[in-house]
Amino acid sequence: MTDTAQTPEQDERVKEISSFRKALIRPELGGICGTVIVFLFFAIFAGNSGMFNSQGVLNWSTVSAQFMIIAVGACLLMIAGEFDLSVGSMIGFAGMMIAIFSVSLGWPVWLAIILAFLICMSIGALNGYIVIKTGLPSFIVTLAFLFILRGFTIFIPQQLENRTIIGGIADAAEGDWLAPLFGGQVGGWFFEFLGERGLIEVFERGTRAGEPVVDGIPMLIIWALVLVAFGHFLLTRTQFGNWIFAAGGDAEAARNSGVPVNAVKIKMFIMTAFCATVFATCQVMEFGSAAADRGILKEFEAIIAVVIGGALLTGGYGSVIGAALGALIFGVVQQGLFFTGVESSLFRVFLGVILLLAVILNTYIRRLITGER
C-alpha cells in the first residue's frame, strides 16, 4: 500500500498560507496589537507631555517592569493549570519580613532578603502541596493564603513595633552586598555619556546641574527582562517547558504519559512566589520602607496581564512574551493617563476595553491554532 499522490511536503488538502499570515497567527498577537494601539494612542494624545522623554520613558518602563515580574510567574503557573491569588499578599508579606529582620531585629539586610525568599518560596510550595494533595481548585487554596498572609503582614509589625509601616531600610542596606541587586541601578556611565552629548536632558541648576536626569536603569527593569527571557526560554525550549504545557493541558493525560505533573505544578507555585518576592524586595529597597498594605490587588493585575498576553485561563496554552506585552500595556496605560492629565478613574475604563479586545482576538487566534470549538 503506497501513497503516490501525496508527499509530506505538499498536501493538497492544505491551502497555501502566506508566511506573513503564518507569522501573524501566534498566541501573542492580541498582546502585540494591544501594545501598538496603546502606543499610538499615547503618541497622539500625550506626545509632547513628557511621556516619551527620558524621564517619562523610565517612569512607565519601571511600572511596566513591576507588572512583568509578577506576570512571568503568573503566566507559567496559569499555563501549568493553576492560579495564585496570594501574590499580592505575598508581596506585602515578603517586604514586611525584610523590614522586620533587618530593622526590628537588626540582622544584616542580605540575610533578611535571603530569609524572605526562603520563607516565601516555602509558602509557595505549601500552596502547591495543598492544591495537589486535596485536589481543591488552586483558586480557593490561594484565596485562603491571600487572607492568611495579609493578616500576618498586619499582625506581626503591630505586635513588634506597634505600627504597620516600617522604615529605615535604606540606612540598614547601606554597604550591603545583596541589596544593590534589587535596589541599585546599572548603566550610569551610559546615561552620563548621553547627557554629555546632549542626547538626553540634564539638570539645569541645583547641586546636580549637568548630571543627566536619568542616571541609570533600575535593577527592577533588569530583573523584569531577565525573568521574561528565562520564562520564555524555559517554556518554549526545554523539556520542562513541555511538561508545563502538558500539566495544564490535561493533568491526567500528562501523568499517564509520564510527566511528573505534581512536581511541575509545585515548582511553578514556587516560581510565582519567587517573582512576588523579587517584586517586594525591589519595592522595599526603592521606598526604604515596608508597609502592610503593599501589593493589594497585584494578583489580579498579574492575571490580567497574562490573559491580555494570550494565555488560556484554564491552562495549557499561553506565552511569556505575550504576558510581558500585557504588563507593558498595563504600565503604559496606567502612567500614560497620568501624563495626559485624564481623570485616573478612566484608567480602569480604558484597561477594561483593551482587556476585552485582546481576549476576543486571542480567543479567535487560539481557535485557529488549536482547533478548539
Binding site: M1, Q6, P8, T238, N242, G258, V259, G371, E372
Partner: protein, 262 residues
C-alpha cells in the same frame, strides 16, 4: 513458545477496588516476549483497569506484578515507561492544545545538551513524529499542528505511533482501532505483528473478534472483574470466543428469555 521463554510480565491475582466498587477481583495474566496477548470482555469487565495497573496508572489493591522475573512496584506511569512499557490508553492521553510533536514526546522529550542546559530538541522531535506517522499511513500537515485539529482516528494513530516508538519491551493497546479507517486498522494490525516478531510483548484489548483472531497468540477473557480463562490460538473457534466475550452464559440466558417472550 511458552516453555523456552520466561514471561516478561506476570500479573498474579490482581485486585483493584475503587471505594466499594470491586473492579478487579483477582486477575492473573502473563505475557511473553514476542507474544500478542488479547484481552477480551464486555463493557465494564475491567480490561482498562487491569492494563492501568500494568502501566503504573493504578496501584493494585492486592496482588503481585512480576516484571522480568522480579517483583515490580510502579509508583507512577513514568516508572513503567522507563521500564519499557508503553500504553495506548482508551482515552488516548493526548493534549489537544499541544502540537503533534510535543504530544508525541510528552514525558519523554528528546534533549540536546548545550553546555549545562538541556534543550528540547525540536528538530529531532519533528522529524521522528512525521516519520512515525507516515509509517502508520497518515500524512500530517505538519508536526506543529495542534492535536485538537486532528480527526479522532488521526489522534488515535498518533497515540499508537507514540507507544510503538517508546514500547521497548511491552506494548499495551486499549481498543486502539475503535476509531480507525480500514487502511489504518490494517496498518495497526500489521504493526502489532511486526513488533511482536521483534520480540516485544503486546497486550491488545479489542471488542472485535476478527481483529483479535488476526493477530492474537493467546486470548484471555475477562468478565465482571474475573478471568473466564485463557485460550491458545487454534484451540478456540471464533464462535466460542464471541460467546465468551459477551459474558458466556448471560448471553445464552438473554437469548432464552427473548425467545420465550417475543
Amino acid at each position: 513458545m511458552t516453555s523456552e521463554h520466561a514471561p516478561i510480565i506476570e500479573m498474579r491475582n490482581i485486585e483493584k477496588h475503587f471505594g466499594s466498587v470491586i473492579a478487579l477481583a483477582g486477575v492473573s495474566v502473563d505475557v511473553f516476549p514476542g507474544e500478542c496477548h488479547c484481552l477480551l470482555g464486555d463493557n465494564g469487565a475491567g480490561k482498562s483497569t487491569f492494563i492501568k495497573t500494568m502501566s503504573g496508572v493504578h496501584k493494585p489493591t492486592a496482588g503481585e506484578i512480576m516484571f522480568e522475573g522480579k517483583p515490580m512496584h510502579f509508583a507512577d506511569p513514568r516508572d513503567a515507561i522507563s521500564a519499557g512499557i508503553a500504553t495506548v490508553h482508551q482515552h488516548l492521553a493526548m493534549i489537544p492544545l499541544m502540537s503533534v510533536s510535543r504530544n508525541f514526546f510528552m514525558g519523554n522529550e528528546p534533549v540536546k545538551k548545550v553546555g549545562p542546559l538541556k534543550l528540547f530538541d525540536h528538530d529531532y522531535a519533528n522529524n521522528v513524529t512525521m516519520e512515525e506517522m507516515r509509517k502508520m499511513g497518515i500524512n500530517l500537515r505538519g508536526p506543529d499542528q495542534a492535536v485538537g485539529t486532528l480527526s479522532g482516528g488521526e489522534r488515535q494513530t498518533v497515540a499508537i505511533a507514540r507507544a510503538v516508538h517508546f514500547g521497548a519491551k511491552v506494548l499495551i493497546l486499549d481498543e486502539p482501532t475503535s476509531a480507525l479507517g480500514v487502511r489504518q486498522t490494517a496498518n495497526v494490525l500489521a504493526t502489532i505483528d511486526k513488533v511482536r516478531k521483534q520480540g516485544i510483548a503486546v497486550v491488545f484489548i479489542t471488542h472485535n473478534v476478527r481483529h483479535a483472531l488476526a493477530v492474537g497468540d493467546r486470548f484471555t477473557v475477562l468478565n465482571r472483574g474475573k478471568t473466564l480463562g485463557t485460550a491458545q490460538r487454534g484451540q478456540i473457534t471464533p464462535e466460542e470466543l464471541q460467546d465468551m466475550m459477551a459474558g458466556g452464559q448471560e448471553m445464552v440466558a438473554l437469548e432464552g428469555s427473548l425467545g420465550g417472550t417475543v
